[in-house]
């Protein structure tokens, strides 16, 4: 059986672990509909007989609450923001992702290290440093990249929960109003994702289409992978 393969320097005790499951990542900016699609994918996978484990960005037991608290104040610098993301991801990696992959589950990741690479890079962290920091992450079997332009994202976010401080990247553009800041920030994030999509062969999915069609497209990509 093949073993879990990493982007780079994983700790020695994590190497050589058998990979019985599949790691599927759903990436995309705020407001693109990622979480809805993850829920639907999960139901569909379970109905077709696959055991699924879901893991979501900043939901770790170790620092999930620390991140929420830090984001509500003004104590984070780009560096500590990045490192907290890495703590959160590492905790979920070892407590959720690796055990599930070893046991033959399909792991559905709602966001992955690419979110950190995009967000932290637009905040001025060095690309090379970031890539090395997150190099302990396993390489996913499939990265589905839901894509929507920034103005369309803004309309969706406004119709659901409203634009918040971090989604608008207000820490980067304090002088702009919330809408302009959102569009400026999310456009930069999109540039990052688009570049990674090329370099790392994500599977781009056009999220302008109706939700059912998008879901169909995601399912056929997943089905293809599971047939392999």
């Amino acid at each position: 059986m093949k073993t879990i393969s990493f982007h780079g320097a994983a700790p020695e005790y994590l190497t050589g672990i058998p990979m019985a499951g599949r790691l599927i990542v759903v990436e995309g900016t705020d407001g693109v509909g990622r979480s809805t699609h993850v829920v639907n994918l999960r139901q569909w996978l379970e109905v077709s007989g696959h055991a699924v484990v879901e893991t979501g960005w900043t939901r770790s037991k170790l620092v999930g609450r620390t991140i929420d608290k830090a984001k509500s104040g003004h104590m984070l610098s780009p560096l500590t923001y990045t490192l907290l993301y890495a703590c959160d991801f590492a905790d979920r990696l070892e407590k959720e992702i690796i055990p599930a992959l070893r046991a033959g589950y399909v792991v559905l990741a709602d966001r992955y290290i690419y979110t950190a690479l995009a967000r932290c890079s637009v905040r001025g962290m060095e690309t090379e440093w970031l890539a090395r920091l997150f190099s302990f992450a396993p390489v996913p079997d499939l990265v589905l990249y839901l894509r929507l332009d920034a103005p369309a994202l803004a309309r969706r976010v406004l119709l659901s929960s409203g634009i918040d401080y971090w989604e608008a990247g207000k820490d980067m553009f304090p002088q702009m109003d919330i809408y302009d800041s959102f569009v400026a920030y999310q456009s930069r994030i999109l540039e990052q994702f688009d570049a990674m999509c090329q370099e790392r062969s994500f599977q781009p999915v056009d999220a302008r289409k109706p939700i059912e069609l998008v879901q169909d497209e995601l399912r056929s990509a997943v089905a293809r992978l599971l047939r392999e």
Binding site: A9, Y13, L62, A70, S77, T80, L83, E94
Partner: protein, 227 residues
């Protein structure tokens, strides 16, 4: 980022004390601080694992023994990054003397002893300011163990490396794990030019050496024309 290898541009002075638990480095740091203050210097003291940002989360992780070598490493780096931002760089820019009880070298030695990739940890800490004076208080694990057992009731779980399952006996585990840490520290002395101090000598003897080293550095700084 290669700041850890290049001299910093600030007018202050960064002094780092390193060594395993029970080496007596904290005692030496406090004596140094009192002496510097008595000479009229403005001194800022910062210690490992003390930032408000992650202190609670780290403590909870340690208490429940759920930290892995990787998360242990990352949590300490986050703590350090936060202190570097608020407690180390500003006083250095203000021309103060900063004494750091443990520094990035602690992470290099300990995390490598836990199987974390050495290049990976070094990359992570490459934002750290290079110390002007870095002192490594070297003791054998037997001496450290004896000091710890006479000073307090219990050796801590992660300090003994109990997470590594090296032995079920805490003293034995401490001996095996900290010996590895000492091995890594010794290598770091060459790699980063730490000054080794024989920490089996008496407290006053060690302090006299420390003060000589710091004094030489202060004179050099004054000659250099800095504040």
């Amino acid at each position: 980022m290669t700041r850890l290898k290049e001299p910093h541009p600030h007018s202050g002075l960064l002094i780092v004390v390193e060594g395993i638990d029970g080496s007596g480095k904290t005692t030496q740091a406090h004596l140094l601080k009192s002496w510097l203050e008595s000479r009229g210097e403005a001194v800022f003291f910062t210690e490992w694992n003390s930032s408000e940002l992650v202190k609670k989360a780290t403590r909870a992780g340690k208490k429940s023994a759920t930290l892995t070598p990787l998360t242990f490493s990352l949590m300490h780096a986050t703590d350090f990054a936060d202190r570097h931002l608020y407690q180390i760089v500003p006083p250095l820019k203000a021309g103060m003397i900063v004494i750091a009880d443990r520094y990035a070298y602690t992470a290099f030695a300990r995390d490598e002893a836990r199987g974390v990739h050495p290049e990976w940890v070094r990359n992570m800490y490459s934002f750290a300011t290079r110390p002007d004076v870095a002192l490594y208080f070297r003791v054998t694990t037997d001496v450290a163990l004896e000091r710890l057992s006479s000073a307090r009731a219990k050796i801590k779980y992660y300090e003994a490396g109990m997470d590594m399952r090296l032995s079920t006996d805490i003293a034995e585990s401490f001996r095996i794990f900290q010996s590895r840490v000492v091995g890594h520290y010794d290598a770091l002395c060459n790699e980063y030019g730490l000054t080794t101090i024989d920490a089996t000598r008496t407290i006053p003897e060690q302090q006299a050496i420390v003060r000589d080293i710091v004094l030489a550095r202060l004179r050099e700084r004054r000659r250099g024309g800095a504040a």
